[in-house]
């Protein structure tokens, strides 16, 4: 009974996602429709879509799991994932939209006028996308196992399949609608059970067992806690702007001003959502503290109804939460697959295939590759795994965007050296952690949160090499700055989209 209800809910979300996707297919006919939803998407719909795409397995399941496991310090995860949009807003949103770049490699090529920089950026998109996809597929496996008892790989394969059908069939237009729809599913799926569980807890005379252990409830208790917290803050605050699937969304805004308003909307929607995982984590501490010992903290959100309520109520709530979790995997994975396949089709497959065919083949490659990676790595908390992708983004694309938009002196060599250096340093740390390298000393702390070291190094490399390479400042930098910063209503020459090489 319990399994059947949950299965039904997951099926409904999956089918609904596919239906909206196919509906989108009917609308999207031309290539331009296919890629960018023809830029007719308003700020509210766009903000819903960005939030829907952004709130992944890490937010829906992982944060509550980490809060249950380690307590108050973990609240910095959702804070960073929200505040990242504030920094994106003030430094990147409007100029990026005005640049006309669709992907991060587009931006790199436009700004530093170099095909080599474009290639480096393309590989980084694939790396960050893959690091981000892996925990999504793992989360899907974990969810399906928790609600139906199916083996882990079933959920991962199911999500990969649905995402592929959607991406291959409908392209971006359908994805925009799907993503917007997913945000509201996720919010309801987490909010309604939270309210009911809270009432039940109240009815139960508000027990507070396990809540007052000092290393859980008090901030900064573990070894290297201050370093870890600040490194986490840096990675999440600066990493958001460098996420490939977030950046492509800005292209669907009408202009720079609406890009800013969309970002404000995203901040509001994320703020609403992120109030909830903390409640699940704390309730989990009271009712499900045994999950800590058994190492299954990531499934706390899904197991709480059974422990607090039991009976039919629990069955319905678990089904609702399972559906929401699936919405989370589907939406984030779709966005990631779209952006990776966009990059692959433009930069790798375009010589052999038409752009739409290339896009579809790229999608298959992205999902298949990540599925293989997910089979290879296990055991890292979902939220931490996702946050590692942020660390790589913060060490590579963040300096490219900040310096590219606000500093005339950035050169192609500077950008390339900075991206490669930051990418290698942070990427090595991330892969080591994912493969299970652990240490209790400083090196261990550095590996598990590398951003505080790698981000400044990447910035220093970009600035230093650019200064040494001053003679090769891009020829059209003046025009590029006009394009990036002037409001669209001012009628000036903004240069052509593709810089002359």
């Amino acid at each position: 009974m319990k399994e059947l209800t949950a299965l039904l809910a997951v099926t409904i979300v999956t089918t609904a996602t596919l239906v909206v996707g196919v509906f989108g297919l009917r609308i999207s006919r031309t290539t331009s429709d296919f890629f960018v939803a023809s830029r007719r998407v308003g700020p509210f719909l766009n903000a819903s879509a960005i939030s829907g795409e952004y709130l992944s397995a890490a937010s829906f399941l992982g944060v509550a799991g980490l809060v249950l496991l380690r307590g108050v310090d973990m609240l910095w995860y959702p804070i960073g994932w929200t505040a990242g949009y504030l920094l994106l807003l003030v430094f990147v949103a409007a100029p990026l939209r005005r640049s006309g770049a669709y992907t991060l490699p587009d931006f790199a090529e436009f700004r530093v006028e170099s095909q080599a920089a474009r290639q480096v950026a393309s590989w980084l998109v694939c790396l960050i996308g893959a690091l981000y996809l892996v925990p999504q597929f793992q989360g899907a496996g974990l969810t399906l196992r928790a609600v139906t008892g199916a083996p882990s790989w079933v959920g991962a394969v199911l999500v990969a399949f649905v995402v592929l059908v959607n991406v291959v069939a409908g392209g971006m237009r359908s994805i925009t609608l799907v993503q917007a729809f997913q945000y509201w599913i996720k919010l309801c799926a987490l909010l309604v059970p939270a309210l009911i569980l809270w009432l039940a807890w109240h009815h139960d005379d508000s027990p507070t067992r396990h809540l007052h252990t000092s290393d859980w409830v008090e901030p900064l208790q573990g070894p290297h806690a201050t370093y870890l917290t600040y490194s986490l803050i840096l990675a999440t605050f600066l990493g958001t702007m460098g996420l490939p699937h977030v950046v492509v969304r800005f292209y669907t805004n009408h202009d720079g001003t609406s890009a800013r308003r969309t970002t404000l909307g995203v901040l509001a929607m994320l703020s609403m959502f992120y109030l909830l995982p903390t409640a699940y984590g704390a309730l989990g501490r009271v009712y499900a503290s045994d999950l800590v010992a058994s190492g299954r903290t990531d499934s706390v959100v899904l197991e709480l109804p059974e422990r607090v309520l039991g009976g039919t109520g629990a069955t319905v709530l678990t089904a609702l939460l399972g559906a929401g979790a699936f919405a989370a995997f589907l939406s984030t994975s779709s966005g990631l697959v779209v952006s990776i396949s966009g990059v692959l089709s433009q930069d790798v497959l375009s010589r052999r295939f038409g752009s739409v065919t290339g896009f579809r083949i790229g999608g298959v490659m992205a999902a298949g590759g990540a599925l293989l990676l997910a089979a290879g790595t296990q055991g890292l908390p979902v939220a931490h795994a996702v946050e590692l992708a942020f660390a790589v983004a913060a060490s590579t694309f963040c300096p490219l965007l900040l310096l590219g938009i606000w500093w005339r002196g950035l050169t192609a060599r500077g950008a390339i050296v900075g991206m490669i250096g930051g990418g290698i340093l942070s990427g090595t740390a991330v892969l080591a952690v994912m493969l299970g390298v652990k240490a209790d000393n400083w090196a261990g702390a550095l590996l598990s949160q590398p951003a505080l070291l790698t981000v400044p190094i990447a910035f220093a490399a970009m600035v230093g090499v650019s200064l040494a390479d001053r003679a090769r400042v891009p020829v059209h930098v003046g025009r590029a700055m006009v394009r990036l910063h002037l409001p669209e209503t001012v009628e000036v020459d903004r240069g052509s989209y593709q810089p002359v090489n």
């Binding site: 609240l75 409830v217 901030p219 803050i233 606000w406 001012v490």
Partner: protein
Amino acid sequence: MSDEPITRVRITSPRTLAARSRTRRSNAAEIDELTRLGEVYVQSLMRAQLRLAGYVVLLLAVSLGLLPVLFQVLPVDHVHVLGVRLPWLLLGVVVYPWLLVLAWWYVRRAERNEAAFIELVDRREDAS
């Protein structure tokens, strides 16, 4: 002698459109041709927006950025507000409306900066 009056008698009013447009270019044209004046205009807008972004980052650093240090230095762990420990209340709830206030303030100011820039560029065009 017969040539001199011709050069001297330039009594055409400089206020005609034709005369003005030859001597003074619009600001948009200055920007288009990337003259030093045009660059100054673009840079003034960039500086204004960057300064605004700097204020936001400063406010963020002073508020959120100092929280971990404050938690270590001040004995706030046992302070309860509304029945919740202060760090939990701050990090779990209060942070979010604060981020929204910062973002909302930034969007208003950034749009105002751009409106001022548009006015600056258009004003001289209207005059010419």
